[in-house]
């Protein structure tokens, strides 16, 4: 890892700090957050290392991994932090920022799932699970993922074969366009 003023993306870190309302520099790497994190064993970068990478401006390393998606937002870290670093908010901020960031998570399909979820809402005004599952499986390349759950869900009426559109589609479209405009102006993420 080469560290210099150009590899340390201070602007991104400032955004994280503004969004989360907490200071990254305050952390002195005691490791208490990782010690108490119930999800730390599943993360390739335990919580303390996420903050450390942020201190070095190495956000790409964080977003390329699955740590931020495994965070359950239980806030144990924030509650116990001796330096008042609100790590749960930082995780939240990172998840938000990952939406536009280049080279987002390849490890995790959460981002893909989120995108498809919103696309469905925009198209149908409500969720169309069958399509969500099918497109997700195709796009993520896991064609047979959870296939055997299908019949069970269908028999219980949890998975509809055909979609039903919301009646107020223009209203929903309005919500989406408004948010898109706000994002363009920088008023929202």
């Amino acid at each position: 890892m080469i560290i210099s003023q150009s590899t340390m993306d201070v602007d991104f870190v400032r955004k994280v700090e503004a969004l989360s309302g907490t200071s990254v520099r305050r952390c002195f790497q005691c490791g208490k957050c990782s010690a108490g994190c119930p999800m730390a064993t599943f993360m390739e970068h335990p919580p303390n290392r996420v903050v450390r990478l942020l201190q070095l401006g190495q956000w790409q390393r964080i977003l390329a991994g699955r740590s931020i998606w495994y965070c359950a937002s239980c806030e144990t870290c924030s509650t116990r932090c001796p330096n008042k670093v609100h790590l749960a908010s930082i995780m939240d901020a990172l998840r938000k920022l990952s939406w536009d960031a280049e080279g987002p998570s390849k490890e995790s399909y959460v981002q893909l799932a989120n995108k498809l979820f919103l696309q469905n809402i925009r198209t149908y005004g409500r969720q169309y699970e069958m399509r969500l599952a099918a497109v997700f499986n195709v796009k993520s390349g896991q064609f047979l993922k959870d296939l055997m759950l299908g019949p069970k869900l269908i028999s219980k009426g949890k998975l509809k074969m055909f979609h039903s559109k919301n009646k107020n589609m223009p209203e929903i479209e309005k919500i989406f366009t408004r948010i898109e405009e706000m994002r363009k102006k920088g008023e929202a993420l």
Partner: protein, 665 residues
């Protein structure tokens, strides 16, 4: 017939756990000469001492043996108690049945048997103890302070303010030491010059302080209260009384390009110079190695331009003897360098950092000079190689320190804090620059210290990277720093413009030879040893000599000033008495047997043996014998062991007593 009282102590359970104290008391009680024997839980406690005193009076005891801990621990305690009961304190001895017996044995039977033997030996020895009068020696109420850094200055001012005369000896042309070189000081960032120079002026103006700058200690004789110190005043080539400090000589000197040690060789000075403008005394000194007059005999310009005629090429070193009663040693420290060390040296250099051959790798003190407003760059942080401002600067802590392989295993204590300070100074001066710090641990114990370190990270934007640097090398005009961030677990590479090494603190070169002159002990690094790490931290084991500052171990300014004031307080305590009392355990010469070979004189570590002439009534010399000056004798007994005619005896440890102890076994 002696009436000896034996008191066996349980020491809580420390002794009684492995030694049957009651049986010891019963057995020893049967020995001839023992009039009384008992045991008690804590002999050193108030009721224990009362028991001792009461028994001495009731039983009319003539001698006392306390079987307890080491005499190092409580001999003084019990001798005081015995004295209070009306006996001569030197008729009391301690039998060590704790360190020498109960603590080192497990079997109760055997330990008890050994304890009985130990006490038995002491009973035989104490029988032959003599009544010894306390020796008193006069005190010269003047003090010597060696070293004119902040430690020496503080100690000298405190002692002088108390009304005692002080002789302050400084090796360099000016006092001030390392603190005068610093830019700003942690944790308040006040300018070092601003807080230091007024104190230096105080020293120069104090009526009670005699300042010998450019001088060294040649020889130290005598003992507590009565030292004779020979001081070598090195030839300054400038008369201090005549010089007005106008500085014309320095302006006119044709040699101008001599690296100034005060500026870590970054700035230049003439051959006749004061190390820095605020020097005290403000009298120049001629550097004879570089002066044209001294090298070729020509020039002499400074003498021609000197109005008061102070320049004197004929001046020679002079020796002066100063009588003093106490000595404060405050010789300070040197900084470790990473260059290659001579073969066989305990300390090693850093080949992986280029052995100091990369020009833009500097040490912390050089950085201080760069950052200092009165430094060679006028306070601009510029690279020594090309004079450009470094935009990426890397600080590396623990260079030399905490590296057993390099020969130094201790922590230098100040580097964490001064590196944090350096990052701040850098950030204040180079706004678009970035400072990185490689560190193993941040050790910031001290008032407002941790806050200061955190401030350098949180507010002054220094990037701290936990992990040591493996290698440094020059690449073009950059220095590649190869390290690792152990919090992330990745290798880190930084192309830096300048690297600052926080190098270790070492004792002054030659600290060992000064210690030998003073007769004080030092550790394997040449740091001076205190008498007790916790309870006597400013005193040397040698009476009358006190320590202040980094000559004892790495110390920051607040600690140094505290210790200097503490040493001054100890000197004042000594000077509060007109006469000193000391232990009369000294050697005596039996003149009848002495043949005057003076083997004792050769081995005496204290210089206590003198020659004494014995004459008959007509004044004819009969013979010359040895005489032990009781004021100087340290009571070590080496002379007694050396004497071929068995004519020297150490009170309390005579041959007769030692033989009696052996026979008691």
């Amino acid at each position: 017939m002696s009436r000896i009282g034996v008191f066996v102590c349980h020491c809580g359970e420390n002794i009684s756990r492995t030694v049957d104290v009651e049986r010891v008391a019963a057995q020893v009680g049967k020995m001839p000469g023992v009039a009384f024997a008992t045991d008690y839980k804590y002999m050193c406690s108030d009721p224990g001492q009362t028991l001792l005193k009461k028994t001495i009076q009731e039983q009319k005891l003539s001698h006392v043996v306390v079987a307890a801990c080491s005499p190092r621990m409580h001999e003084k305690t019990f001798r005081k108690a015995v004295e209070a009961a009306g006996l001569n304190p030197y008729l009391c001895e301690m039998a060590n049945i704790r360190e020498h017996c109960s603590w080192v044995h497990e079997d109760k039977q055997e330990a008890t048997a050994k304890a009985i033997e130990i006490v038995g030996m002491l009973v035989e020895r104490v029988k032959k103890n003599r009544v010894l009068p306390t020796i008193t020696v006069p005190v010269t109420k003047r003090s010597l302070v060696i070293g004119g850094g902040i430690a020496g200055i503080q100690a000298a001012l405190d002692i002088a303010d108390a009304g005692h005369e002080v002789v302050l000896v400084e090796r360099d042309p000016s006092i001030g030491g390392h603190m005068a070189q610093l830019s700003e000081t942690f944790p308040t960032l006040d300018c070092s010059q601003c807080i230091m120079t007024p104190k230096m002026v105080d020293v120069a103006n104090h009526p009670n302080i005699t300042l010998y700058s450019y001088s060294e200690i040649e020889q130290v004789d005598g003992y507590i209260g009565n030292f004779q110190v020979t001081i070598r005043r090195k030839a300054r080539s400038v008369d201090e009384d005549k010089c007005t400090g106008c500085g014309v000589c320095m302006e006119k000197c044709p040699v101008k390009k001599i690296p100034n040690k005060f500026d870590c060789n970054l700035g230049m000075r003439p051959a006749i110079y004061v190390p820095f403008p605020q020097a005290v005394p403000n009298t120049p000194v001629i550097d004879r190695d570089n002066c044209i007059k001294f090298k070729t005999g020509k020039c002499g310009l400074c003498q021609k331009v000197c109005g008061p005629g102070a320049v004197d090429y004929e001046q020679e070193d002079t020796l002066i003897v100063e009588p003093v009663g106490a000595i404060v040693v405050a010789t300070g420290f040197d900084l470790y360098t990473i260059d290659e060390k001579p073969k066989g040296s305990m300390i090693k250099g850093y080949g992986e950092f280029g052995h100091g051959k990369i020009p833009d790798v500097i040490d912390g003190m050089t950085f201080e000079r760069l950052a200092s407003a009165s430094g060679p760059t006028g306070g601009k942080i510029l690279r020594p190689s090309d004079g450009k401002e470094p935009k990426q600067i890397v600080f590396i802590q623990c260079i030399g320190s905490r590296a057993r392989e390099k020969g130094i295993s201790y922590c230098s204590k100040v580097c964490c804090m001064y590196t944090a300070k350096h990052t701040m100074l850098y950030h204040h001066k180079v706004h678009d620059g970035q400072a990185y710090v490689f560190f193993m641990d941040a050790r910031t114990p001290g008032k407002a210290y941790d806050e200061f370190w955190r401030r350098s990270i949180e507010e002054e934007e220094a990037v701290y990277i936990r992990g040591m640097v493996s290698r440094l090398y020059q690449k073009g005009n950059k220095i590649v720093v190869m390290g690792s961030d152990i919090a992330v677990g990745v290798q880190v590479e930084i192309e830096a413009d300048m690297v600052v090494l926080a190098t270790a603190i070492q004792p002054r070169t030659g600290a060992d030879s000064l210690a030998q002159k003073l007769g004080i002990s030092y550790d394997k690094y040449n740091f001076y040893s205190e008498a007790h790490a916790k309870l006597r931290p400013v005193e040397c084991a040698t009476a009358g000599i006190y320590l202040a500052g980094a000559c004892q171990g790495p110390k920051d300014i607040p600690d140094t000033v505290s210790q200097a004031s503490a040493a001054a307080a100890k000197v004042m305590t000594l000077f509060a008495k007109d006469k000193l009392e000391r232990e009369p355990i000294v050697a005596r010469v039996k003149e009848a047997g002495c043949v005057g070979c003076f083997a004792c004189k050769k081995v005496c570590a204290y210089g206590a043996v003198e020659e004494k002439e014995i004459r008959d009534r007509q004044g004819n010399l009969i013979k010359v014998v040895a005489y032990v000056n009781p004021g100087v004798c340290g009571g070590c007994g080496t002379c007694q062991a050396t004497c071929p005619s068995k004519s020297v005896e150490l009170d309390g440890y005579t041959d007769e007593q030692i033989v009696a102890m052996i026979e008691a076994l």
